[in-house]
């Protein structure tokens, strides 16, 4: 079953009367349980594609269907709610809420979803355990290493029970040990719980782990390899 269906996707930036094609006719489908890396040089359109898949930006033309909903037709407030219920985000700079503990950061998104407190707490604890942060639940982000913070971000992304997780260069700020550790955790979650991960990355280690590698150049998919 396809989680994401993208047809003839275009994103054009009008920069002082010169049209810049950030994405130029992208067709793509991603199935549930895939572990996909999107690669390509800077300016190839990776970030634009990720923003569009994540509902953070609107395409100029084309369709993006997520779980059967065409998100290119949603208003900005509908999109916020859609993101909350369907998409998990992991950012390059972790972007945790600094005043909250690891536990509260994970719980927060379920609070936004108005889930009952009991469920929030059980799920938070099991997710933190899954990312190997048992015993660090009450630490604030500034007391955690980069790798640990990114694992909290992964737990947060999963907390909302999303259809897929978008990770924008998740390992860019991590050393090799933390990268390996994070990738192992995500791979495990993917394998055991069938969670769909989509990365944009420059990192060869991530590319090596990915089971599908989509390469972009000048706003077009130039290769799509399944391992």
């Amino acid at each position: 079953m396809n989680v994401i269906e993208v047809n003839a996707l275009e994103k054009i930036y009008n920069d002082s009367e010169v049209k810049v094609y950030a994405l130029n006719g992208v067709d793509l489908s991603i199935e549930a349980g895939e572990f996909t890396a999107i690669v390509g040089p800077s300016g190839s359109g990776k970030t634009t594609l990720l923003n569009l898949l994540g509902g953070l930006d609107q395409p100029t033309s084309g369709q993006i269907s997520i779980g059967g909903t065409d998100i290119s037709k949603l208003s900005s407030s509908q999109l916020i709610d859609f993101r909350l219920r369907n998409i998990g985000f992991v950012f390059q700079a972790y972007n945790l809420i600094p005043v909250l503990t690891a536990k509260e950061n994970v719980e927060f998104i379920m609070h936004l979803q108005n889930r009952p407190k009991e469920e929030r707490l059980t799920r938070t604890m099991s997710l933190l355990k899954a990312v190997g942060l048992e015993g660090r639940e009450n630490s604030r982000p500034n007391k955690l290493s980069g790798g640990q913070q990114q694992r909290v971000a992964v737990a947060r992304a999963l907390a909302s029970k999303p259809k897929f997780v978008l990770a924008d260069e998740p390992t860019a700020n991590l050393d090799s040990k933390a990268t390996e550790n994070l990738l192992e955790i995500m791979e495990e979650l993917n394998r055991n719980e069938n969670i769909t991960f989509i990365f944009s990355t420059h990192d060869q280690r991530v590319v090596n782990k990915a089971r599908r590698v989509i390469t972009l150049e000048d706003g077009k998919i130039i290769s799509d390899v399944r391992k």
């Binding site: 923003n51 953070l56 916020i80 909350l84 985000f89 700079a93 972007n95 005043v99 909250l100 909302s160």
Partner: protein, 406 residues
């Protein structure tokens, strides 16, 4: 959870928040204490004006107040006075004889108004009897006792039991003089009143001006319920159509003005303080929000609605404002309570103040209604101050905000 995040956000930049909270605390302390002080002052002035000087209602012959002529007395004054005394809303009645005269001591002389009273009846309409620190209220002097104000005593350079000579034109038109002896010196904190008004026994004055003791120029009425001032005054006015019936608000309009607009001045003052604090709050929140654009972008990216982000930032501003407001108001009330028993002595300025009728010893008062309104005003300041920074934060698209390098 959002409230707890908002509260924690306030303490991210501890120094900045402490500075603005301190500013709000000082501003609100100044506002609250000035208000309780001013309110106390107004209340004292009102209390002195109404309970000591004017009482609630006065009745005169319509022409009397123009030139204080002896012949302009209230016809059937004694009957009228007894009639009013029997009315069920009346607490007390004092019929007075009023004459303008010259008073002279061995040193100097001045013009005054003599009020001939029955000391016991007078006790039911004013509290003058309780404001006699020197001597006694019509006791201790057998013949022609006179009660004069402290300010007049100073002016005439006389003391308790000194002799004064009063000269006036009697009802027959003859200039006549008589000696009186000071039985007491009253002090009401209103220099003008103290300097102008002396009190003697009505029987002494009647004999002096050759009028019957039953004649009155002024009937002073004290009501059981001050709240019924206007209806009771209108009722008397309707009943005694040929006389001039006036409530204290009509007789002393400046007191009525103080009563009605005193609170408005206070609120106006506090609004000005809050307005200037509001700009400081906006500035602080703007800094706090602008350095968090990336985080706010992230919150919207993961699915926090604009309304919730707005709500969080508004709560932050309101909590910041209320914290400062809380300490300021508490401090203001605390200092008020600490000084409300002993009073605050302004004797350095006292002479000028007392000349205008204001006491130099001020007892601040806390009024619940005033505190509630101030709390509401603080809350409103927080709400209004939150709008601009919050709107500014929501202007960014999440995709752009996340990638801003801070």
């Amino acid at each position: 959870m959002i409230t707890s995040i908002a509260w924690k956000n306030i303490w991210r930049n501890r120094m900045r928040s402490v500075i603005i909270i301190t500013a709000i605390t000082i501003g609100m302390f100044a506002g609250v204490f000035t208000s309780t002080f001013y309110k106390g002052w107004i209340n004292q002035r009102l209390e002195a004006g109404v309970e000591t000087e004017v009482s609630h209602i006065q009745i005169h012959h319509p022409d009397f107040s123009e030139n204080f002529e002896l012949k302009n007395f209230i016809p059937d004054g004694a009957i009228t006075s007894d009639e009013i005394a029997r009315m069920d809303f009346v607490n007390g009645v004092s019929p007075r004889m009023v004459v303008q005269a010259m008073v002279a001591s061995s040193e100097t002389g001045t013009g005054i108004k003599i009020l001939g009273i029955n000391p016991e009846k007078e006790k039911t309409v004013t509290n003058l009897y309780s404001k006699v620190p020197e001597g006694k209220y019509f006791e201790g002097v057998k013949r022609n006792p006179i009660l004069i104000g402290e300010k007049l005593a100073k002016k005439l350079k006389v003391k308790l039991h000194s002799k004064l000579v009063i000269t006036l034109q009697d009802s027959q038109g003859h200039l006549t003089s008589e000696a009186f002896r000071i039985c007491g010196i009253y002090k009401v904190g209103n220099g003008m009143f103290e300097e102008m008004n002396v009190f003697v026994m009505k029987s002494d004055l009647a004999r002096f001006v050759q009028l019957d003791e039953s004649i009155s120029h002024e009937i002073v009425v004290h009501l059981k319920e001050h709240g019924q001032l206007t209806p009771n005054s209108e009722m008397l006015s309707g009943k005694y159509k040929n006389q001039l019936v006036q409530s204290w608000k009509q007789m002393a309009p400046e007191l009525g003005l103080l009563n009605e607009y005193g609170s408005i001045y206070i609120y106006f003052f506090i609004i000005i303080i809050l307005l200037s604090l509001g700009f400081g709050i906006v500035n602080t929140m703007l800094m706090a929000v602008m350095e968090r654009v990336k985080e706010i972008g992230m919150l919207m990216a993961i699915g926090m609605s604009k309304f919730r982000v707005f709500w969080m930032l508004m709560l932050e501003t309101v909590l910041l404002t209320l914290t400062g407001g809380f300490f300021g108001i508490l401090l203001g009330i605390g200092v008020t309570f600490a000084t409300m028993k002993s009073g605050i002595n302004l004797s350095f300025y006292a002479e000028g103040l007392e000349d205008m009728g204001y006491s130099s010893l001020v007892f601040p008062v806390v009024e619940l209604e005033m505190v509630c309104v101030i709390v509401l005003l603080v809350l409103m300041t927080g709400l209004i101050a939150s709008v601009y920074p919050a709107r500014k934060a929501l202007k960014y698209k999440p995709a752009e905000a996340i990638r801003i390098d801070m």
